[in-house]
């Protein structure tokens, strides 16, 4: 009996000792990298566990081989391994898969453009648009504060690094928006863009070397992304001297869908009424516009966005061309729609974009009458592929179709523009297909270097010429504060037909640019040097075209914040631009020894914000008229131009603008009052030369005189 008990006890003891088994293993991710600090424990008792070391290794003692081993770590799917299946004599390898929830992070990465690191400026709506002293709340006008902006005619149509606006493109949610400005001038305040800042999330500016993820640009690119998440519902009502409007941002389903609807009416009566003498060329304007932006998160992996916009504009004023002065009238109706479907995968995002644009415009001045109908459709499919941890690829195809119909009466003699002067009718219908394929890659070589390359080729349609665009970019990040960006390439685009040039001319450019950025907590410095060689027939004005423009530019921008609420910025550009007409070189339209923009801001949210901006540059060049010959047939003098072109120069351009804003918030209500005084000191900035009847005396037409604008915006957030 005793022997039996002893034997049984020994057996149990030895079984017990035998059953204490150790599992040795290593936890890795899919890339074979060790996972440090992962939890390794038994399913039956989570207290019986351990954690992995820096090499992903662990040792765990177990008693019950029927249990299950559980391995978990933040950001990875929890893995279970039945102990029965383990070979205890070997070190087991447990591979963790990334948690599908981290798809959200992919969403965040996928939303940013692949070329983001190669944009010169990324603009945030609140900081860079609303508080921008020159933007007047307009996202495209906000760009004009940048040294790379060479817009000189007080419009919102972006001219970047000396190139014609016709060569740069504005992209909204992957779809190009051609002529993104209003047709009529708002009381000489300059053109405004078509975009409402409330629907915009981010805006990227590529001052030169536009990423070849988009085509049809040979200068720069502005990429706009609309809001993809609405943080709160909002009703906004606004009233100004020349505008009343509303905006409603409303979540439809919690965090999955929202809609933004807005409308504005712009009118001239009050605005002109108080400052008639400052607006000599304005008679009347009336503009209606309305937009709707609808966003829907169809599923965790799919999003749809539709942005639709309608505008109806009427403008009447006075214009003077050559020796004829008379009424000018324009009206334009335009509708565009931009629709996007995005499908997210674990390693990438597929984007299908479609755009439609239709407009009808009438223009009347003297014996010039023009009706222009434009139709455009755009379709593209892109896939952005997060190929490796350090490498992203994007490829796609796009089709951009344009159709322009002109029904014009054209003066028989360009200098005889009165209503009774002879003219002839001309009807023209033209169309163009731009079918292109592209591939773009971004490679983070290491923490300091990022390399990008892009190529884009057209597929010729209807006897088009074949072209191939390509680019390379290198970003060198010295440290957290400093970086260099070197980029270069060859680019192509088609010109936009106009009353004077009813053709789609193929334009191209070679560009190279070096940008340097140095950013500290309260200060920043940005400089750039670039060279561009632009070719292709492009209208300089109604009489001349150029087929070659060479531009060399240097830019510097400094910004400093001080005393908590003050900020000072200074931007200056030196641009040497020469254009070639019939083999001879002349001053380009952006040939400036300096282009200075300086701003001083005081922005205290508790008190008020005020900013003063100074803009200065030499005058632009123009063709001088040296004499005239009387034409019996028309009764007008025909001008005789100087043989040497572009020798005349306007006087220096100087302008101060003042902006004041007061922000009051009470619970859910926000009231913003604003006042702007444009051209504070009423400088006479020459815009155009005008002449008496026989061209013996010249005088000038001027840019905007001093004008005052004020208004209030009321917002209810709920």
């Amino acid at each position: 009996m005793i022997r039996t008990i002893l034997f049984t006890g020994l057996l149990l003891f030895s079984f017990s000792v035998f059953s204490q088994v150790k599992i040795k293993g290593v936890v890795q991710n899919r890339k074979g990298e060790p996972v440090f600090a992962a939890n390794v424990y038994l399913k039956s008792n989570s207290q019986n566990g351990t954690t992995t070391n820096f090499d992903g290794e662990f040792i765990l003692s177990i008693k019950n081989k029927r249990d299950t081993l559980v391995v978990s770590f933040i950001g990875y799917k929890t893995k279970e391994v039945a102990l029965e299946k383990i070979d205890y004599s070997k070190k087991i390898i447990i591979v963790l898969d990334e948690n599908t929830q981290s798809l959200d992070e992919v969403l965040i990465i996928a939303r940013d453009p692949i070329s983001e690191k190669f944009s010169v400026v990324k603009m945030n709506m609140l900081q860079d648009v609303y508080l921008n002293p020159v933007s007047q709340g307009d996202p495209l006008k906000a760009i004009t504060i940048l040294p790379a902006s060479t817009t000189t005619n007080e419009t919102a149509n972006p001219s970047l690094r000396g190139s014609s606006p016709d060569r740069s493109r504005v992209i909204l949610n992957g779809v190009p928006i051609y002529k993104p400005v209003r047709a009529s001038q708002l009381n000489n305040q300059g053109f405004f863009s078509l975009f409402n800042p409330e629907i915009i999330d981010k805006q990227y500016v590529y001052a030169s070397n536009p990423p070849l993820t988009y085509g049809n640009t040979s200068a720069g690119l502005v990429e706009i992304q609309t809001v993809n998440k609405l943080n709160e519902n909002q009703l906004q009502l606004s009233a100004g001297l020349a505008n009343i409007g509303f905006l409603l941002s409303q979540k439809i389903k919690k965090d999955t869908s929202f809609v933004q609807v807005y409308g504005n009416y712009q009118f001239s009566n009050a605005f002109t009424g108080i400052q008639k003498e400052k607006l000599p060329d304005l008679k009347d304007f009336n503009t209606w516009d309305a937009g709707i932006n609808y966003h829907r998160k169809i599923s965790k992996k799919m999003e749809f966005n539709s942005y639709n916009y309608l505008i109806d504009e009427d403008f009447t004023g006075i214009d003077e061309q050559f020796t004829y002065k008379g009424d000018v009238a324009t009206d334009k109706q335009r509708f565009f729609s931009v629709n996007n479907l995005k499908i997210y995968f674990v390693k990438g995002v597929l984007r299908i974009n479609s755009g439609t644009n239709a407009s009808t415009q009438h223009f009347k001045f003297g014996n010039i009458y023009s009706e222009q109908k434009t139709r455009q459709t755009y379709t593209s499919i892109d896939y952005k592929w997060h190929l490796l941890e350090t490498t992203d690829l994007q490829f796609g195809i796009s089709h951009d179709f344009h159709k322009n119909k002109f029904n014009d009466s054209i003066p028989s003699y360009y200098y005889a523009l009165s209503q009774n002067s002879p003219n002839y009718s001309q009807k023209t219908t033209i169309h163009n297909h731009i079918l292109e394929l592209y591939l773009y890659s971004n490679w983070d070589i290491n923490e300091k270097f990022t390399f990008s390359s892009g190529m884009r080729s057209n597929i010729p349609v209807e006897n088009q010429k074949y072209y191939f665009s390509s680019q390379l970019g290198l970003k060198y990040r010295i440290n957290n504060e400093q970086s260099f960006l070197l980029s270069g390439g060859k680019y192509h685009n088609y010109s936009i037909p106009s009353y004077y040039t009813k053709r789609y001319n193929l334009l191209s450019s070679y560009q190279i640019a070096l940008d340097y950025s140095f950013e500290l907590k309260n200060s920043s410095l940005k400089t750039a040097a670039y060279f561009k060689n632009e070719t292709g027939e492009q209208a300089v004005n109604a009489f001349f075209t150029t087929d070659k423009v060479n531009t060399f530019g240097l830019e510097v921008f400094v910004e400093h914040s001080f005393y908590k609420y003050f900020k000072f910025s200074l931007a200056n550009s030196f641009i040497n631009q020469k254009m070639s007409i019939d083999g001879k070189n002349y001053h380009g339209s952006k040939d400036f020894n300096y282009l200075l923009k300086s701003t001083l801001q005081y922005n205290n949210p508790k008190l008020f914000s005020v900013a003063i901006t100074y803009t200065s540059r030499p005058g632009t060049f123009y063709n001088e008229i040296t004499g005239s010959v009387y034409d019996n047939q028309t009764g007008f003098y025909e001008p005789v131009f100087s043989e040497d072109l572009y020798t005349g120069q306007f006087s220096n351009y100087n302008r101060f603008d003042l902006n004041f804003g007061k922000y009051i918030r009470l619970k859910n209500n926000v009231l913003i009052a604003f006042l702007s005084v444009n051209n504070l000191f009423d400088n006479r900035n020459q815009r155009q030369v005008q002449y008496n009847k026989d061209y013996s005396i010249k005088h000038y037409d001027y840019y905007q005189f001093r004008t005052v604008y004020f208004g209030v915006i009321w917002q209810l957030r709920y």
């Binding site: 207290q47 290794e57 992070e105 619970k667």
Partner: protein, 266 residues
């Protein structure tokens, strides 16, 4: 945010609590941990080590302890380049910032917190914990930022939302989201969502599985803020209910017990 954080972290007995709970659970861990041939044990219980270094620095009015630990973490990061090491370096910066703030050196305090924020911003493949800490550090930095504060506030919300999206069981993600809302004045739209997020935070475990390398802060702070919220709203029954729950869970908590006086007679 600053008030809560200073009070919470200067006088806290919460660490006492977490230490106690950690010890209860830690028995198995320490036994098991001995089986693992760790090359470096610096990160074990690192949250507690940082806190202790902070308290010692504060008591001795000398940041030797904190900077010593910071140097050790820096050396470890140099060797291992693990996100988790960088997480704790950033976490330490938070305490370092409070240390200098208490010393009255706002400039260095700002520099310290900004350093932590920069490290987290630069971190690749951030997980829910990293985003939550980033949002917390950004929230703390608001006091130094003047006119820039209004831009950072949106970032904080976004980072806290991302933290929640990446791990819907991370109580710290809910806590920092709520905290941002709690300290945003009502006239600027704050105070609307903190209750919902704090209730969610207190319903979650500090860690799904106890792990001494990983963060476990946030639960006591969530209770404290929730009670303060109910006191602010004069919802006395709710305030008392969560006070009872909190004091039961954290019986030695100085900050929570301090709230009792405000509930007496209500």
């Amino acid at each position: 945010m600053i008030r809560l954080l200073i009070i919470s972290f200067l006088f806290v007995s919460c660490n006492g609590n977490t230490m106690q709970t950690a010890k209860q659970d830690a028995v198995n861990y320490y036994v098991q941990a001995k089986q693992v041939q760790q090359q470096d044990t610096l990160l074990k219980g690192i949250q507690e080590k940082i806190y202790n270094a902070f308290v010692e620095s504060l008591m001795s009015k000398d940041n030797k302890k904190l900077s010593g630990l910071s140097n050790k973490l820096a050396m470890l990061y140099k060797d291992k380049k693990q996100n988790l090491v960088q997480y704790w370096r950033a976490y330490l910066q938070f305490y370092s910032s409070i240390y200098y703030l208490k010393k009255g050196d706002k400039k260095i305090a700002e520099k310290e917190i900004d350093q932590g924020i920069d490290w987290l911003k630069e971190m690749k493949h951030k997980n829910s914990e990293d985003y939550a800490l980033l949002a917390m550090l950004q929230g703390f930095s608001l006091q130094f930022k003047g006119m820039k504060a209004m831009f950072i506030s949106g970032d904080i919300k976004k980072n806290a939302q991302t933290a929640i999206a990446l791990d819907s069981t991370n109580l710290r993600a809910y806590y920092v989201y709520a905290s941002n809302d709690f300290y945003t004045p009502e006239k600027y739209g704050g105070g609307k969502e903190c209750e919902k997020y704090l209730l969610k935070a207190v319903s979650l475990p500090t860690q799904p599985i106890k792990n001494e390398y990983l963060p476990s802060w946030g639960k006591e702070e969530s209770y404290e803020m929730l009670i303060k919220y109910y006191i602010r709203k004069e919802k006395w029954d709710d305030a008392k209910k969560y006070y009872q729950e909190a004091i039961k869970m954290f019986p030695d908590s100085y900050t929570i017990s301090q709230l009792a006086s405000k509930l007496v007679g209500k």
